[in-house]
């Protein structure tokens, strides 16, 4: 064999190697996407630019919910040098073992990406940290914003913010681990408006994690868009006054502007300071509030179902008038109650027989038993009569969710025909069986919000807008049809005028005499809801002024007895405060403010 031929093998070897290398390059560069992903991972840093959350003003433009700066302490583990863990944990007032475990978690997550080692440090603590943090290599602070409530008002209505849940993150790709989201109340309902839009900045970093410039000259960067500001319909002064009046009482106040459905005040007690549920202390405080026997997290205005009591006689009067079951000249006699079969529904002593207007003024039980019986018996059967009646009642917003712009609202209870069929059997119940509905007792369950809305409906002589607590987004009125479409009751205006005249008399000479503070025409109605668990609830609803209603209000004070005793004076003070901007009866005010009706029993 000729040695010259051996060149062939050498040539084949050279070609083989070249081919193998080219095949390998093809695999790395064309087939396998892994390396491109990896390259992006190690060279690109997405820096999220957080928008500031929209703030909330009250109806007069006063700050209701604001933002304050807090600081996150970030660490890039690979940049740490000569760390004195003990000093650092002292600086942050954190246990040294806790600090070690946080540092370990951070480096387990990533050695070159920043991790928050301490979150939401308030600015007073930040001052101390900022002085020395420069000496700690690998640490830096990052400003974040946190909610603040200058007057600590309306906690239930406004809701709170928490870290986004894994379930929500799955549904909405906007959110990333550790992001904050409105968890309840207005914060949750208007989340999309107030959260703004996050921005992103993609930086190129070198092997030492130094930023070397923007990725593709910033082509894929976006700046953050601040959240939109909200204007609440709440009146801070009225809200503040309401919360003061309800201190040490169990109950709720809801005030609505009838013409618009705007909520002027929504007071619950027991309540909590909304500032407790922000920042680092949120989860521990939440636990404390949750286990509090007084249930401060319970949003009575939207969640408590009370019998409406005598205030409901107004609705029965209106339905009766509309259906012809009663007229202004109808007399019924009341002999300290209403007798049906061998049973009696009691009443207090008053003149008898009596007409419609006086039945409202004196809140006669017997009269309304007759009216209710006549309404039900207009139908061929009790079922049919009841259907007509309950249809009218539901048009006052009773028995279903109002769909206010807050979370946690309940339906209340307006029983349907099937409810009684199930209870007594079909065709086996009649007006007398359910006679307690005549005076707002029995199965009925109405929230303070529904009650205030019912009052606003009467004030409007027959219609309402769904109550809402936010009136403007970025200065523009709401466009959501939920709040811009009128709900009509289908009851004639003239019937309202009859009832409203009587309501005015309630204040002038009836059960609500204590409400009057000057010559402003106030229309109201007391209520006393029987409560199987204890003393009756004191209820009052009212609106004023009579001919141009500016405020409709419902006041519930639990377990304190007659409506005229507690609910009426509170109603009076609230109306006076709202309409005149001041209060003129220091004795009444002092008594209401100082009364402790919660701890006495």
């Amino acid at each position: 064999m000729n040695l010259k031929d051996r060149r062939l093998l050498v040539i084949v070897l050279f070609m083989l190697i070249t081919l193998v290398f080219i095949a390998r390059l093809f695999q790395l560069q064309v087939l396998d996407p892994e390396w491109k992903v990896k390259a992006a991972q190690i060279t690109e840093r997405s820096v999220t630019k957080y928008p500031s959350r929209g703030v909330i003003f009250d109806r007069e433009g006063r700050l209701l919910v604001g933002n304050i700066a807090v600081y996150d302490l970030m660490v890039v583990p690979r940049e740490i040098e000569d760390l004195d863990t003990l000093a650092l944990s002292r600086l942050l007032s954190v246990d040294v073992d806790e600090m070690k475990s946080r540092l370990k978690n951070a480096s387990d997550y990533s050695t070159f990406k920043p991790t928050a080692i301490a979150k939401q440090i308030p600015s007073d603590e930040y001052v101390n940290i900022s002085e020395v943090i420069g000496d700690y290599k690998g640490f830096y602070t990052q400003v974040r914003s946190m909610r603040s409530y200058p007057d600590s008002l309306a906690a239930h209505a406004l809701g709170y913010i928490s870290e986004v849940s894994p379930g929500r993150m799955e549904k909405d790709s906007y959110y990333r681990l550790g992001d904050y989201i409105g968890a309840s109340g207005v914060e949750a309902i208007y989340e999309d408006a107030v959260r703004g839009e996050k921005g992103v900045e993609i930086m190129l970093v070198d092997v030492h994690n130094n930023v070397r410039g923007k990725f593709e000259g910033g082509r894929y960067d976006s700046s953050s868009v601040s959240g939109r500001n909200l204007t609440s319909s709440l009146d801070i002064e009225l809200q503040k006054f309401g919360e003061a009046l309800m201190r040490n009482k169990r109950g709720s106040i809801v005030a609505i502007e009838p013409a618009t459905g705007e909520i002027l005040a929504m007071v619950n007690n027991p309540a909590y300071d909304p500032n407790l549920l922000v920042g680092r202390v949120r989860s521990s405080n939440y636990g404390v509030l949750l286990s509090d026997a007084l249930k401060p997290l319970f949003n009575r205005a939207l969640q408590a179902k009370y019998p409406p009591g005598s205030t409901f006689k107004l609705v029965n009067a209106l339905i009766g008038l509309q259906l012809g079951a009663v007229t202004t000249e109808t007399y019924h006699s009341c002999r300290s109650g209403y007798y049906f079969g061998s049973r009696r529904l009691g009443c207090h002593s008053h003149a008898s027989p009596l007409k419609l207007d006086y039945s409202i003024i004196t809140s006669c039980n017997g009269y309304y038993c007759n009216v209710f019986k006549d309404i039900i018996e207009l139908g061929e059967t009790a079922e049919e009569g009841y259907k007509v009646w309950s249809e009218y009642v539901s048009r006052f917003g009773i028995g279903s969710k109002l769909h206010t712009d807050m979370t946690g609202e309940v339906e209340g209870l307006l029983p349907g025909v099937s409810y009684y069929d199930r209870f007594y059997g079909s065709g086996r119940w009649k007006a007398h069986t359910i006679i307690s509905l005549a005076i707002g007792q029995g199965e009925l369950g109405v929230t303070p919000m529904q009650m205030a809305n019912m009052c606003a409906t009467i004030a409007n002589r027959g219609w309402y807008y769904t109550p809402h607590i936010i009136k403007e987004i970025d200065g523009r009125p709401l466009t959501d049809s939920t709040y811009t479409v009128k709900h009509e009751t289908g009851i004639d205006r003239k019937n309202y005028d009859i009832v409203i005249d009587a309501m005015e008399q309630v204040i002038i000479r009836g059960t609500g005499r204590g409400v009057k503070y000057d010559d402003t025409a106030i229309c109201g109605k007391t209520g006393t809801a029987q409560n199987p668990h204890g003393k009756d609830h004191s209820i009052f609803i009212a609106f004023a002024p009579k001919d141009d209603p500016k405020i409709a209000i419902a006041v519930y004070v639990e377990n304190v007895g007659f409506g005229s005793t507690w609910a009426a004076p509170i109603t009076s003070l609230m109306i006076e405060k709202f309409l005149t901007g001041e209060t003129t009866r220091p004795a009444v005010e002092k008594r209401m403010l100082e009364a402790d009706l919660m701890h006495a029993h």
Binding site: M1, N2, L3, K4, D5, R6, R7, L8, L9, V10, I11, V12, L13, F14, M15, L16, I17, T18, L19, V20, F21, I22, A23, R24, L25, F26, Q27, L28, Q29, V30, L31, D32, E34, W35, K36, K38, A39, A40, I42, T43, L204, V205, D206, V207, H208, R212
Partner: protein, 442 residues
Amino acid sequence: MRTRSEIIGAVDKPVLLIYLLLVLLGWINIYAANYSVDYPSIFDTSREYGMQFLWICIGLAFGVGLLMFSGEFFRKNAILIYGGVLLLLIAVLIFGREVNGAKSWFGVGGFGIQPSEFAKMATALVIAAYLSDINMKVKGLKELLITILLIGIPSVLILLQPDAGTLLVFIGFLLVMYREGLIGNIIFLGIGLVFVTITTLFFIKTEWTLAEGLVVNSGWIISLLIIGLGVLAFSFVKRFILPRFRKQNIRGLIIIVISSLITVGAITLIYQSDSILKPHHKTRIDVLFGHMEDPSGAGYNVTQSKTAIGSGGLLGKGFLQGVLTKYKYVPMQSTDFIFCTVGEEWGFIGSSAVLILFLALLLRIIHLAENQRSAFTRVYSYAVASIIFMHVLINVGMAIGLAPVIGIPLPFFSYGGSSFLSFTAMMFILLRLDSERLEVFR
């Protein structure tokens, strides 16, 4: 005596052209790897690219100077040059500067000289001179041992530095010995099969999706590759080799192809069988060939290098756009890992083109070697081709994760004076020797 222009006119144009192209590409890539807006000039000698330009100028002047010497000069003085380099290799062990744990540098002011770089050229010259000696009648065991000794002495001296990379290059002289008949086909086949084994083990975990649902195992790919190359070589033999040798060649070819296929099959079988390999053996193999995360973390360089090259994609990110190389994610990117810059900025097309340029250079050198009347020139040319081949094999192999991490420059590309001057000298001596092809027996 020929004039200067005659000499320059007689040098092989393709080799010169490819050489210049590779030098230019190397310089551009060194510039890209170290580019900084503060030092935008490619001639700025405070930067590596400016220095490389300086070396290129010095190298070219040096090379043209070498063209003025006659081939006979190199042949006669080969042993002197060889002896001189050996002295330098000894001296560097005593007086050398220690860089990265190896005593391989002489420091002269700001410059450093690496004798081992010149040892390759000197060894190439000395074995060419020895094997072309007119007195040599047969090439037997004695000649083989002397050749091994000539290669072995500088190898051992370099091993003492220690410089494993340069040592590996000396293994390339096996190709020369094979071509000159000092070692037979069987040994060569053995070396070839070792290579096939290594390749198989590298790709053993790889599955390639050729099309939707058509996933093929690496064993098949390599087998197909071998068969394809066999067919290629077959047609090559049929086309160029005289008929009387054809049969023999084809037989040899068939032996190579079949034994390669058997090796691929056997390795795949052994690897996949649980009874032959113990789990810890398999783990060791997996770590060595990168199928498992290297526990010591020494795989960092290779991962960064593969990421840089892999992220280049088909067409690359473009000149000066190589983020990974520019921002120093890849270590030693202007010397050992210069190929990353090519891969990242010029993509699959660019890096393949560079490999093909090297292949073209190698094939052209082999072509020139076989056309020589002078045995000295032939042996020398083969030695040069082998040295360049080994450098590309190890350097590029390392960058794309097919060879262990061994620091060794990519010829003409990598930054560094000694390496560049050494390769340039090698090339220009080759060009000078080749230009004398027609006048050897005149």
